[in-house]
Symmetry: C2
Subunit: 196 residues, 2 copies
């Protein structure tokens, strides 16, 4: 057993450690023992901060969801033509995803075994529906191509956006900036790759 | 213990059972005991068909990779302008992904803990590089928008294509056909969602 270090964690810094472990081992595969080892403090010290592993999950997921839902209330998401609000939401979703990478990664990986996970999935669906509604409105305005199937387009747009958590590694020297990735997503999804 | 049923499995039908269990529990989380229960035959019956769990993984992943790499040898992928070959490969990749859904799902989820998984990841990278080379060629021909970053575009294209395994459920009554999904991917990625 390693010597436990002094507990100087804040709720935020302990959460960051927990999220890293959840993402590496999976939430189900993580025990309080694993968290205690990764944080270098005893289990009872962890229980001083939180009541349970699930509370850590709930806090981490709330952070991701708060970031994403805040985008929907920004002026760019609430005023102007639907297609521009849609582009704004797409751009800002990519930026939040990169700013909160480990938290959004965790959110996208939960599978619904606990109340917290089911709540997370429900809120994700709500977010997707809000974006789908924008797509539908933009299509009704005639600003999307006539042959766009709104349901499939929503899936593919999120497929593209969410894939960022699978490959974006900010620590790589040649990593694109958050803005460059957002530009690439906007350009690909809305303008298409083909020269016109 | 449930009564073992008579072993009437072919290599293919046993593989289908194993892949379903791998996708549900994760490859690491699956034991020969789990496979024996799911198949309803004894472990020694399974060992009559294959030497190990890893052999089942190798066969399943080979099936996915063979389907994907075959696309690169099709006439549509070897003749004509690069941008059309790229569109052909994109369309056919989506179709193979849907036709071989559980096998490609497994391929996309492996994380590299065994030799077979590392080999799978290496072959996936090789496939991605072949597609990236087509993108590069199409960009050099002036058939992609000038501001397309080939590396990011390849990531986003595969993000969109690979997301299909996360949401496509053929058993749903209202599921789009493989052709409709392929059309939606092609239209979104190459033409873009915006009306021009």
């Amino acid at each position: 057993m390693t010597m436990a270090k002094r507990d100087t964690y804040t709720p935020e810094s302990l959460l960051a450690v927990a999220v890293a472990v959840f993402n590496e081992r999976g939430y189900d595969g993580t025990s309080m023992e694993h968290l205690s080892k990764a944080a270098g403090i005893s289990k009872s010290s962890i229980y001083h901060h939180v009541r349970s592993k699930e509370e850590l999950l709930r806090r981490a997921i709330s952070r991701a969801l708060d970031g994403l839902f805040a985008v929907l209330d920004e002026p760019g998401a609430t005023t102007g033509p639907a297609v521009e609000r849609l582009e704004h939401v797409t751009r800002r979703t990519v930026e939040v995803l990169i700013a909160e990478l480990p938290y959004v990664t965790l959110l996208l990986r939960v599978r619904g075994n606990t109340d917290t996970e089911r709540w997370a999935m429900e809120r994700r669906r709500e977010f997707d529906h809000r974006v789908a509604a924008l797509l539908k409105e933009a299509a009704a305005d005639g600003d999307l191509r006539a042959d766009v199937d709104v349901r499939l387009a929503t899936r593919l747009l999120f497929g593209m956006i969410n894939s960022v958590v699978e490959w974006y590694r900010p620590q790589r020297g040649n990593a694109a900036t958050s803005e460059e990735v957002a530009d690439a997503v906007i350009n690909t999804a809305f303008a298409g790759l083909r020269a016109h």
